[in-house]
């Protein structure tokens, strides 16, 4: 597979997880592309303006990338912390609208600031990896790590509290969960993940501009999660991987691909209302595999009997 496409898919999966975190506690936040854009801008500025981040020659140092990702994540997380208390008081569709507005505000600000390069953006962002495969390898490790953390989170107090709030916010409050705080934590974690992913993406794309954080991106990243499912971390990962690849894979059919892409996004929720991946589905799959295993053992046993003859008591 083309490493560039793989990298896009991996970044899609990371962004899908960023949308998933608030959605796990029932909060429909579409702010992910905004935090993604902030993260990328931070990385683009640092690595083009500040010599130690830029490195020498064609490649920038890897520790610089890690530091940029940390700073980008922290800045996005801090912004989420600052606005979350207010924004998260809104519910359902009102939260969605407010977070879309946030993404737009950030886009317009980036567009009009001189040091972010205006409409053209920032060019010539130095490369920490010499090959696309290098990016894909690094991002694969990052995605594996984030998946592991999300899987752990689901087993922990915070992850359980998030699911409880999604199921019944009032009942969750009545068993002592500070629902506002849990929602804020999920929002901040989501921003942090989007921010650090943005820093990585800025290097990969080589240039960065305001278009990255747009309304389109909000809808696309939401589609990842709607398509894959928001009940467990694996859903958004699969959704992000598949839907990020789809436009590229459909390139041979020309402009028709946009229609096919639209149809997939439309039909996904109709055919799989819970998303492609659900805990029950995974459990069913596990049972089925176990069943196949037992069947195989049965065949093996029959074969042995045929070879050795029936065992005498």
């Amino acid at each position: 597979m083309d490493a560039g496409l793989l990298e896009q898919m991996l970044i899609g999966a990371l962004l899908a997880l960023s949308v998933y975190l608030p959605l796990r506690c029932g909060q429909l936040s579409l702010a992910t592309p905004g935090f993604f854009a902030i993260g990328g801008t931070v990385a683009a500025l640092l690595s083009t303006r500040i010599p130690i981040f830029a490195g020498t020659g064609a490649t920038s140092p890897l520790p610089a990338l890690l530091l940029e990702m940390t700073l980008a994540g922290l800045l996005a997380g801090l912004l989420a912390l600052a606005i979350g208390g207010t924004v998260l008081r809104l519910r359902g569709i009102y939260l969605a609208i407010a977070t879309i507005a946030l993404v737009e505000i950030l886009r317009v600000i980036t567009l009009n600031l001189s040091f972010t390069g205006g409409a053209l953006g920032i060019f010539g962002i130095p490369q920490p990896f010499t090959t696309t495969a290098g990016y894909a390898g690094f991002t694969l490790v990052l995605l594996a790590l984030v998946c592991w953390l999300c899987a752990r989170l689901e087993q922990l107090r915070l992850g359980r509290a998030m699911a409880a709030i999604r199921d019944d916010e009032l009942a969750a409050a009545c068993v002592g969960i500070d629902t506002a705080q849990v929602k804020l934590q999920a929002f901040v974690l989501s921003a942090l993940l989007a921010g650090l992913t943005g820093a990585l993406a800025a290097h990969f794309l080589n240039s960065w501009n305001a278009k990255v954080g747009s309304f389109d991106a909000s809808i696309t990243t939401l589609a990842f999660v709607v398509f894959g499912g928001s009940r467990t971390w694996l859903g958004p990962v699969i959704g992000g991987l598949v839907l990020s690849a789809l436009p590229e894979l459909l390139r041979p059919v020309g402009d028709l691909r946009l229609i096919v892409f639209g149809l997939v996004i439309l039909l996904g929720p109709v055919l799989f209302p819970q998303g492609l991946i659900t805990p029950q589905g995974l459990q069913g799959l596990g049972h089925r595999l176990l069943g196949y295993g037992q069947q195989l053992r049965g065949y093996g046993h029959k074969l042995l009997v045929r070879v050795n003859g029936p065992r005498r008591p």
Partner: protein, 263 residues
């Protein structure tokens, strides 16, 4: 010369002059009552009398129009349901509010939220101490499930349980928060007489074992007469009677408003 009068113990919960208005409807009309430490306090009354509304006001889900609620003789220093839970108040709901997508065990683990606190990083990395704590919590959850005879259902989704078991799960979840006062809103609804009897026994057991005070709403009057230490009767938002089951049973206003119509 008489002995110095014994100080009357401060009630666990006092409701003073509570009114609650929904538009033109006065759901609670100047209701006062006090619940003593350790008693099983019953709340009866016809449909729409305001019983659930009283629970909602006590648990900070509905703001009262006037009046106040005292906890151990002092104004409650909390205004949110989660703060009240930490203070020692737990409740169940008339229309069952479980976390349906979670397993039976996880429903109780959510109830143990307050006791599961640990730094997020330690939890994510799964340190040895953290794993031990996690096992203790799961152990505790299983004990609570055993108490309501649901330990074999621990891994099932809560949504898959039959009605009576869902009621018992909600009770286990409420107990997990280690309350001092437990509000039960029609916990026996939909149960057959044998199950109702078992539930009575269970409520007494948990009261004794966890040192609880219980406030219970239930329509089945004979059951309430047997179970409760004291009863209050609401009718059209007004408290029309308060006292021992024997006293309430003979109160003419109660007979007219409630028992009369039931006979």
């Amino acid at each position: 010369m008489s002995a110095a009068p014994l100080l009357e113990a401060v009630p666990l919960l006092q409701v003073e002059g509570l009114s609650c208005r929904f538009g033109g409807l006065l759901a609670l009309n100047n209701v006062s009552l006090a619940v003593r430490q350790g008693e099983i306090f019953g709340l009866i009354g016809p449909n729409g009398a305001g019983k659930t509304t009283l629970f909602n006001v006590i648990s900070a889900l509905t703001p009262p129009s006037s009046g106040r609620v005292l906890w151990r003789g002092a104004l409650i220093p909390a205004s949110r349901p989660d703060q009240l839970s930490r203070l020692g108040l737990a409740r169940t709901f008339q229309n069952l509010r479980l976390f349906d997508s979670l397993s039976v065990r996880d429903n109780v683990l959510v109830g143990l939220h307050r006791f599961a606190a640990s730094p997020l990083a330690a939890g994510l990395l799964g340190s040895a101490g953290e794993r031990r704590r996690q096992r203790q919590l799961e152990q505790r959850a299983l004990e609570l499930l055993a108490l309501v005879a649901l330990e074999d259902e621990a891994d099932l989704p809560a949504a898959s349980l039959p009605y009576g078991e869902r009621r018992r799960l909600e009770l286990a979840r409420a107990l997990a928060t280690e309350p001092q006062l437990l509000l039960l809103d029609e916990p026996a609804a939909g149960m057959n007489p044998a199950e109702k009897n078992d539930l009575c026994g269970l409520i007494r057991t948990i009261r004794d074992r966890f040192d609880l005070t219980v406030m219970i709403i239930e329509h089945h009057v004979p059951l309430m007469m047997r179970l409760c230490d004291r009863l209050a009767v609401l009718n059209f938002g007004e408290r029309i009677a308060l006292g021992s089951p024997a006293a309430v049973r003979q109160d003419p206003r109660v007979i007219e408003a409630y028992l009369g119509s039931a006979r």
